[in-house]
């Protein structure tokens, strides 16, 4: 009995000593701020920052290679938290949101498509089944790609919930027709069409497609919207979101997001009062 206790006890002390020595000799100095920053982040690992997940971003922040405002889904609140942890001041963030530049909910099908029901697969086949070759196919690759559940399909057409959108950019990558863009939240007016077909052709397939009539270009006092290659294109640097082009457009192609954002309490944009670090 006694020899067993002595032997096992000594072994225990021996291994314990070994582990203690190892923990001192092989100790890696990890900046404690990395863990604090990481726990402040949303943890979605969406990759919008351009780095390998939230852990990668936290490391880059502390090593100085990333800016505290780099977490796009985190937005202002997270940027301020991180700035406090790092002891710096966060610069003002221009919040962005994903905007769908297509209004073709009611575009008919040219043919009955039988095949893999994803937009990326369908587009490989003669540009997809829709009568408008530039517009939304409606199989929902964007909704599936969104890690924040901000895009839902309503009657086979995507709807962006701006309260959930963090402008991570996954929908922009997913859409094979390049219909999404990340736009500054301050901009309220957007052209919901990407068709370069002539006005006559566009009108024959879509009630809300741009017919390149140039009425928007004529009424704009800020030289912010021009018709190029049969499509009205917005110059966001010049646009003041006054909404005159929206009223002039005979096909309701240009949309004003003001009322909708007001109704959801998103407009006007309120700055977040930041709290002290955890």
């Amino acid at each position: 009995m006694l020899p067993a206790i002595i032997i096992l006890g000594s072994l225990g002390l021996l291994f314990g000593a070994g582990l203690y020595i190892a923990s001192r000799v092989f100790h890696v100095n990890i900046d404690p701020r990395i863990e604090r920053v990481e726990s402040a982040l949303p943890g979605a690992n969406c990759g919008a920052c351009g780095l390998a997940g939230c852990g990668g971003f936290a490391r880059a922040i502390v090593h100085g290679s990333a800016d505290v405002t780099g977490c796009i889904p985190g937005g202002e609140s997270i940027a301020h938290l991180i700035a406090d942890i790092m002891g710096v001041k966060a610069k003002e963030i221009d919040k962005h949101v994903a905007v769908l530049h297509c209004g073709g909910r009611d575009v008919a099908n040219r043919f009955e498509y039988v095949g893999i029901r994803t937009c990326n697969a369908a587009t490989l086949f003669q540009g997809g089944p829709k009568a408008c070759l530039y517009g939304c196919i409606g199989f929902g690759d964007c909704a599936i790609a969104c890690p924040f559940g901000a895009i839902t399909m309503v009657d086979d057409f995507p709807v962006v919930d701006e309260t959930k959108c963090t402008s991570c950019g996954k929908c922009v990558d997913a859409c094979p027709k390049d219909l999404y863009d990340l736009r500054s939240f301050k901009k309220l007016v957007h052209v919901a069409c990407r068709s370069h077909d002539t006005g006559k052709v566009t009108r024959s397939v879509c009630k809300v497609g741009c017919i390149a009539c140039k009425k928007c270009e004529i009424v704009c006092q800020f030289d912010a919207i021009h018709v190029e290659d049969n499509l009205a294109v917005m110059d966001y640097e010049k646009c003041t979101s006054c909404g005159k082009c929206v009223a002039e457009c005979p096909t309701n192609t240009i949309l004003n997001f003001r009322e909708e954002r007001k109704a959801k309490g998103l407009w006007p944009v309120k700055t977040v009062a930041h709290s002290s670090p955890l």
């Binding site: 040219r110 029901r117 697969a121 003669q126």
Partner: protein, 441 residues
Amino acid sequence: MKTFKKGGVHPPDMKERTRDIPIADFPAPESVSIPMAQHFGSPAICIVGAGDKVLKGQLIGKADGRMSANVHSSVSGKVLRIEEKFTPQGKPCKTVVIENDRENRWAEGVPCTRDWQKMSPEEIVAAVTDAGVVGMGGAAFPAGVKLTPPHDKPVDTAILNGVECEPYLTIDHRLMVERAGEVIGGLSIIVKAVGAKRAVVGIESNKPEAYESMCKAAGGKIEIEMLDVKYPQGAEKQLINALTGREVPPGKLPFDVGVVVHNVGTAWAIFNAVTKCMPLIERPLTVSGDAIERPANLIVPIGTPVGSVIEHCGLDPKVKKILSGGPMMGVAIADSAIPVVKGTSGILALKKIPRDISGPCIRCGRCIQVCPLGGIASEMARAIEAGALVDYEHLHVFDCMECGACSFVCPAGRNLVQYVRQAKEEAAYRRELHRKQQKKP
């Protein structure tokens, strides 16, 4: 009987309706829409404008470089307009619309009479290239390029593909039965152009009349071989394997094993180009399918709307699908104004089509058994479905010729060829991205 070693399937051949119908000329249409991109490689450069008067056989599109082909007008008349239209593959390209004045006035020098035996290989190749001849089996590869093997890869065997393994299609069969002399003439011209020592024609055993007809016309040096009926025996590498036992390595061409392969229709076109200065302005094809009332084998002017050809043969209103090509590798078309182009080997109208099941992969392995390349579709499809990050290029996705044997046998009804196409897009995109990243400092 010889056959290729790996994989293969046996779809019903469906050739009874048209195998005995002699080739007829299709009456010239009111107008033709001739695309500049009917071939593998760069689209031709359009050299005519709206309002121009053109003659039958006149050059209207100049080949853009070596990997391209000349395009000629199939009728005499006036150019109505130049527009962007869709090819059967669904890609937009410049298309010349010509109104037929029905006077059939030929361009200068067309047709002529030449003795190919007196022409040098270079002159032969020039004649074929000028005529805009491309592969008539469907791939539409510029024929002139295939007739000029690189200096370090001499060709010793010229093969003619008389297999026509696609169900429903019988046009190659009829060409061999009715115009064997021209087809064999074309093969002899090919042999002279590439300097081959052996010439073989491969014909599947479901075409005994064609076999006999070709044997009679061949005489002596040209071998006519009968092959087992198996799809895709008509695929280039499978044909080479069956007739010579040689295997073309992945990513390589028949030139790398000293062989050149042409379709019998291409040989016919080459014969006409070299001996009659005839540019490629018409295309033999089969019109068939259970929704066609009067199936036929026709020679159709290039640019004729597919709708006119179908109307001529009578269309059942219960039609569900219209295909350009065969049922295995053909493309479903949605617009009857799409023109007949150099690669249109058949037009099929079908009433009964397979059910759209599209279930999950049950890991049965049938696709791997039937794949002539040893089976790659299943894994590609699962990776694409999962959105997984896979190096498709390393999985040899580009070797897949999209023959459709895998989709044909899949019990879960999966659209395997469509998944492989997506995998090819991913791999091409990744390759391009990698190339750009290498360039950045």
